[in-house]
Every structure is written in structure tokens, then in C-alpha cells.
């Protein structure tokens, strides 16, 4: 039988160049992508962020001890968990020796809608690559668990095993962020470099990311127009206290269920997220004046901000 023909198709070199660029980016960036053995079945992806420091997605690290890491050079080393920040879905691990390069971090300018990106992972021996684009870029946002992420970066990429904890890289192989499907109902998001750096700094320093805490459960309520008018309130929504942690900062300050918070430290609050944004770790120990409405009358209550207790490690699913 006749063999296959050897004539080349007529195409310009653009696709070949793209192919070479992408494969080169995967090869370069892939050197710092590691496999983390900290769960059953498939290993999780992580990235050699700074010398000896590995960053991963919190939800993929399912145990705190007996963790090993496989590097791009084929070696496997023991790792210790430095800390976790469930609010940003990041975890930091430390290794004594990692003879692989650290990630080349990009500045934030490459994060723009339509940018061609690669999501890398290492859910085993070999590096994996997925092609996509950045589909949405927004400003600072707050996660379900109260973490602050500098920019909202949503990706149009397929999510395969090893996606979470792997780097998002540009066509030059520079790292734009860390991918996770664990922050927004399985959607492919990236945590930008600046946020990762901030969380890594805190975890390396203290082993955790501290957050302020009121110990109050609140729900937004619309205030009667007559009350808004009578008290000259800046807006017509407040936060009704629906639960108070016994012995928590709010309870200790005398806040009762049914009180309606309208301002904290002179800032009006009409959404629980606004309260969270006022409770950074730097507020712990400070006494903040809280304006409440109780029995139709305004009152001021001083609450000493506590520290949020460490969250239990949620065994959320994700890849």
C-alpha cells in the first residue's frame, strides 16, 4: 500500500510560532509547578513561590501533616504546612530544599479581559496545561468567607484535575496568579499575585491571617420611612442582629438580638459585607463606636473588636 504523502500543507508560520510560544511558556513556568501529596487519589498542584515556600489552594490540602512534594526535577521532598487562609483559599508550605526555580511573577498589567492565558498544574508526575482567556476583570472583592482579593479575575478555561493551586501564566510563562475553583461555586478564578504575596507574608510571619470579629450574626433590614426621617439617618437600611455569640465582642458590649446596627466608626453599614470590610486584622483590640437603633431610639455602644476564631478546615470539593 502507498505510504502517506509528504507534501506540507500551505500555512504560514503563525500557528507554529504560537505553538512554540505556548509550549515554551509551559516548559519555563512548569519548572516551578509542584505536586503536593496531601489528599487521597490525585495530588494537588502548588507553585514554588519564593525560595523554599510553596503556595497551594487551601481546599486541596486535606491534611496538615505527612505532606510530601514532587518537584519538576523528579525529586520528592518532605514539606511542612506553614499556615492556611481559608478566606482566600490559600495555603503555604515550606520545604528545606527545592532545587527547582521559583516562579517568575508578572506585574498586574497582564491581567486584562481577553488576554490569552495558560492554567498549569501537576496532578502527578507531568505538568498539565490548559489554554484559555481571562473573561472578566473586576476590582477588589470579598469572598464568601470574608477574605479580600485585590482583583476579580474570572477565566474561560476548562477545569481539569490539578487546576486549583496551579499558576495562571501569560504567553511568556510569567505567573499572573494562582487558580482556584474553590472560591465561587466551582467557577475558574485566579487570585492575583499581589493578594498571594500579602497572604504569604502574613502566613509566614504568624502562621495565620487574623481577622477582626464582632461575634454577631446580622441581616439587612429596611427601616420605616418615619424612623429614617425622625432620626435623620443617612440611608434606609440597617443590619438587624439575629444572633450573638455568647461572650463574643458584641455580646460583651451589651448588643442584644433585635438591635439594628446603622453605623460602625461613623461609617454607615447596610450590608454584612460592609461590616466585614471594616474588620481587618489591624482593628483587633480597638474599641469602635457602633450606632444602633434599639426600641426605636438611637444609641451608641462601644465594641472592642475581637479576633475571629480559626475556622475549621472545610472539606469543600474542587479540583
Amino acid at each position: 500500500m502507498a505510504g502517506p504523502s509528504t507534501t506540507m500543507p500551505q500555512t504560514s508560520g503563525v500557528l507554529e510560532t504560537l505553538s512554540d510560544d505556548l509550549a515554551g511558556a509551559v516548559d519555563r513556568a512548569g519548572q516551578s509547578v509542584v505536586a503536593i501529596h496531601a489528599r487521597r487519589r490525585i495530588p494537588a498542584s502548588g507553585i514554588h513561590w519564593r525560595p523554599g515556600i510553596i503556595v497551594a489552594a487551601h481546599h486541596t490540602i486535606q491534611r496538615d501533616e505527612d505532606i510530601t512534594i514532587s518537584l519538576a526535577d523528579g525529586t520528592t521532598v518532605a514539606a511542612t504546612l506553614v499556615g492556611r487562609d481559608p478566606t482566600t483559599d490559600l495555603a503555604v508550605l515550606k520545604v528545606d530544599e527545592a532545587k527547582v526555580p521559583v516562579a517568575s511573577l508578572a506585574d498586574g498589567t497582564g491581567i486584562r479581559v481577553g488576554a490569552l492565558v495558560l492554567a498549569l498544574g501537576r496532578p502527578g508526575n507531568a505538568v498539565t496545561a490548559t489554554l484559555g482567556v481571562i473573561s472578566t476583570v473586576g476590582g477588589e472583592w470579598r469572598t464568601w468567607h470574608g477574605g479580600t482579593i485585590d482583583r476579580f479575575v474570572r477565566l474561560d478555561v476548562s477545569i481539569y484535575d490539578g487546576f486549583s493551586g496551579g499558576p495562571l501564566v501569560d504567553a511568556a510563562g510569567r505567573v499572573l496568579g494562582i487558580n482556584t475553583s474553590g472560591l465561587s461555586r466551582g467557577a475558574a478564578l485566579a487570585i492575583p499575585v499581589s493578594t498571594v504575596n500579602r497572604v504569604v507574608d502574613q502566613l509566614v510571619k504568624t502562621g495565620r491571617v487574623s481577622r477582626g470579629y464582632l461575634g454577631l450574626g446580622m441581616q439587612a433590614v429596611r427601616l420605616p420611612a418615619a424612623l429614617v426621617e425622625r432620626l435623620s439617618l443617612p440611608n434606609d437600611v440597617g443590619l438587624m442582629v439575629v444572633s450573638a455569640e455568647p461572650g463574643g465582642p458584641g455580646d460583651t458590649a451589651g448588643i442584644l438580638i433585635g438591635d439594628v446596627l446603622i453605623a460602625i466608626a461613623d461609617k454607615p453599614v447596610g450590608d454584612p459585607a460592609e461590616v466585614l470590610s471594616l474588620l481587618g486584622g489591624d482593628q483587633i483590640g480597638k474599641a469602635l463606636t457602633t450606632r444602633i437603633i434599639r426600641a426605636g431610639e438611637p444609641q451608641s455602644v462601644s465594641i472592642t473588636i475581637g479576633e475571629r476564631p480559626r475556622e475549621s478546615r472545610g472539606a469543600r470539593r474542587g479540583r
Partner: protein
Amino acid sequence: MIDASVEPLGIALAELAATLRESVVEVRTRGAGAGSGIIWSASGLIVTNAHVARTEHATVVLCDGRAFDGVVTAHDSRRDLATIAIDPGAATLRAATIGHPTDLRAGDVVVALGHPWGVTGAIALGIVHVVDTRRGAPRWIRADIRLAPGNSGGPLADARGRVVGVNTLIAGGLGVAVPTTTVSRFLDDVEARRAGSGSRAA
């Protein structure tokens, strides 16, 4: 760098698709739906998946719509490969250019051509997802590419349009292709068996 090349990229992709399409056929069998096939030689040898060519006879339709009666001449369900012979008569067949699957790197651009959901001659763009680092020729090519039923038996090609695999299945969202190195071994085995048994040429 990438931004500046987006328009030429589209043109290059369209050219590649047009060239590749001439070497892709639709394979229709009674009972089973339609799959795809690759023109392996201008004399009328078509390579497809075993699960596409389950019957003794198949209708092979070229990209220009001309249809030929084909005979399934070899069938290997373990490799999921089959061959179909057609007599092109006066028609000129354009055989696919075969590439080197062992040269593929993770991130390399790949395109698939086939008939997903019966749509004729559709192209899909993706990249090689993972290259197994273990020794020996890989059994599969795994690509981050969107395939559908009907792509089966069609080509997965590299950025130069050289066929590197036969699209065979979708696993966990990944396109999985049998490397053309495996196809060559399959064809060698078929040839050897034919020579050994002294059967007449099909």
C-alpha cells in the same frame, strides 16, 4: 506579541483547516451514526476508529460530498483502529501528512477536524494537555480541546497541519487521541498478517 498576531492567526487557522479538510472523510455505517476518517493514502486507504467502523461495509464521503462504497479491511478493537478501502476511480484523493506525536510538548497547539454531532468539516483548536514523562511511546495523546461524538476517527493535527493522532474518546473533558505511531504499527501488523496468510490484496 500574541495580540498582534490574532488576525493572521485566524487566517492561518482557516488555511490549515481548508487543507486538512481535504484529507478528512465522513464514515457512515448502517446502524451506527456517522464518524470521521483520515485519508491515509491516495490509493484509497482510510484510517478510522474501530468503534466507527463496526460493520463490513461503510460509506465514505469526501469533503466535496462525493460518496464511495468502502470495505472495512482491518479492525483492531484493542487499539480502537480500523481501515476502510475505497476505490477512488478517477477521483484524486489527498492523503494526510503524518507528523511525529513523540515530538509534542505540553502547550503545543493542536487542531481537530471532524463531524461533531454531524456538523461537517468542523475545526476545533486546543493544546496538548499533558505529555507523559514515563519512558516509552505514550499510549494516548491528551489534549485540552473540545470534541464531540462524530469527531471519532478524525485527525488531531499539529500547528503545521501534520496529523499526530486519531481522535478516539473524550475522558474527563479532555480529547484523547491514538498517536499516529500506533496507527503505523497497526498498519504494519495488518500488512504482515496479510503477507503471512498470503491473502489477496483487498
